[in-house]
């Protein structure tokens, strides 16, 4: 959900959140490993001072420091469900059916996972009409 700093966004209700469609970020680099798990490689956001310091001592002057993050089986499963078409509710439903857990459990797990992906900038949530 995009907004300007002067225009604070109203927190979404649960129904609205469930109707949102998560989309993978175009800027994030990821690959599927042989075991099916997802490996992200992303740049660490550094202040200008630390960027300059890194460039001074790094062999490759243009390359920014990166970090790797590997999802487990469940996380990779959810990541593969994020196709820009399925809503959060669809993902929860598929997760619950596949892993044979209750909808409540699936909602807790998927919501927390999507939140952490969003905080890292790996996904963005869009309303159904956007």
């Amino acid at each position: 959900m995009k907004s300007s700093p002067s225009d604070p966004v109203e927190p979404l209700s649960r129904t609205e959140s469930l109707a949102c469609i998560p989309r993978q970020s175009d800027t994030i680099q990821w690959q599927e490993l042989d075991n099916g798990e997802i490996l992200f490689t992303y740049a660490i956001p550094l202040s200008r001072f630390f960027t300059a310091l890194h460039q001074k001592f790094s062999k490759n002057k243009t390359e920014l420091p990166t970090k790797k993050l590997q999802l487990d089986q469940m996380g990779s499963f959810v990541w593969n469900l994020i196709d820009g078409k399925k809503t959060v509710k669809d993902i929860i439903r598929i997760f619950a059916q596949t892993h044979k857990v209750t909808s409540q459990e699936a909602e807790t797990a998927v919501a927390a996972f999507l939140k952490s992906l969003g905080q890292r900038g790996f996904i963005a949530l869009y309303g159904p009409m956007e």
Partner: protein
Amino acid sequence: MTSTLNSSWKTIGWNTITLTCPLKWEPIITETSHILFEKNFRPVFELRWQEEKKHGKRSVDATLLKIAGETGLLVQDLLPPHWEKLKKNYSLKLLADNDSRELKAAVLICKECGTTLLLYFFDDLATRHHWDLVRVIESIRCHQQSEAGQVLWAIQDFQILLPNSFTLSGHNFGAGLTRLSFIDSGLTMHLCRLAGASQRLEKSTMLTLMNLLGELEISEEDIQHQDEAISHCSFPSIFQQIRSRVKRRPPFHWVTLRHHPEHDRLSGLFFFDKKPLPDGLITTILDSYEIFSL
């Protein structure tokens, strides 16, 4: 014991209340005396209850009107015919929306045990599906049913029968880990139910999980293996008992963790007490702990 699942209806048991509801309704526990039922992520029915409370000189009718007044809804004087049969067991008032006059809630007081029930209906449950609703309300049991003094706890995909002296002291419904804690005088019991057993057991052993869940340090050679379960019972010497007491830990424990490969679940029971644990009680509780397919 009767099965909690049949073709299209299931039994829910939570904190002295039992009821049957359509299989597609998912109960969500938010408080010890509150269950919200959802269908396809939308609320359909909400139940709050309070055990018998002395209302002073106020009559049951006046109590119903007082509670009804607090909801801000309109009290319906006429009872639809399908609600009439509930009058046998309950004193009740139906409440409607002030504008649309649509049925929104009901307040019931059990004639036998005095428990007050507050029900809210969402969408068109009370009008289009009133037979389902009446069937759900008719199935509500708010007082002890079993002569053996046992209370049914049935939620998610498990059920267990516990003595009615057991009081719920904590509950947590995490993603893949359900934890209920009970106390009965000096005895403490923790019930755990873990989903995704196969994935958990790929990363750790049953013993590691049992030690983690029970905050124990049991070694491999001390545990007993039985079919798909492991268990451990402590027999502390007098010095070990003193040491545990000094550490403010109950010296006696009886713990078990069972794997249900057919349901991909792990179920655990952890008993702790300051005095030796009664064998018969534990066996009865353990025998009643069942896991179902979702």
